[in-house]
Symmetry: C2
Subunit: 147 residues, 2 copies
């Protein structure tokens, strides 16, 4: 079980956008630089965030990206779905026939895990992540100041 890189990069990107939405917005190439992601690759990631209506690029090309909506209402699950369509750990989740045998304890166990993950993703909002990120940055500043 591994998270794909688009989801990883995508979350980092939208956190950066969320942290600068109140000001001028962020240029894609600046995200690429600070997040250390190839700008070409970021093309696709930004595109998926846009088509999921999570970010907008208002007012001409130099204005940068902004968040589309309240960060307290955008959950990590929403962001996750922008890159994964949905979370489905196993294929036979919705039916009660699993792999041509009867429904089994294994199936319901994996479904339980699936639900567990989804509710974790739903419990964290983009607002939470921004809060945490700025706390981290503040700590970094302190460390740098005192050394």
């Amino acid at each position: 079980m591994k998270l794909n890189t688009k989801t990883r990069y995508g979350l980092r990107a939208i956190i950066e956008i969320a942290m600068n939405s109140s000001e001028h917005g962020v240029l894609q190439k600046d995200i690429a630089k600070t997040q250390n992601i190839s700008n070409k690759y970021l093309d696709q990631i930004i595109a998926e965030l846009k088509s999921a209506d999570l970010i907008v690029n208002t007012g001409g090309k130099k204005s940068g990206y902004r968040l589309n909506g309240d960060p307290k209402k955008i959950t990590a699950y929403t962001i996750f779905k922008a890159f994964n369509s949905s979370l489905q750990l196993i294929d036979c989740m919705s039916s009660n026939e699993c792999c041509k045998t009867k429904m089994c304890a294994a199936q319901s166990f994996w479904c339980g895990l699936n639900d567990h993950i989804v509710s974790y993703l739903q419990s964290k909002t983009l607002y939470d992540l921004v809060q945490e990120q700025s706390k981290i940055q503040k700590n970094n500043d302190l460390v740098m100041f005192y050394i």
Copy 2:
């Protein structure tokens, strides 16, 4: 994020073994039949369960496989690790340097999800799964009886 088939099949297999350990044990080919898994493929799965010391094949080839240990002490996480070495959703989990940038909120978020999954896997024992499986089978019998 997807679960690989070896883990899926492996869990089903070890549940079947656990349910028959007190009697004669289970032959691999019988597991293959009831679980609808290619016997050749099951070769590899059984091998991994064995090298993780979760099952044994005592007393000659016709005696079948048995559980090696108390099902209340074998957790789903142990079984999971037999097929996945460990759970690591992202690569940069142990270091506080993530993808050449500073430590970030995204990283700690994914680490949190990782912990969450692990503790879910640890919370379920093989005994629990066996209990659930026999309940399911009893229900199936009831349904069949009354129809």
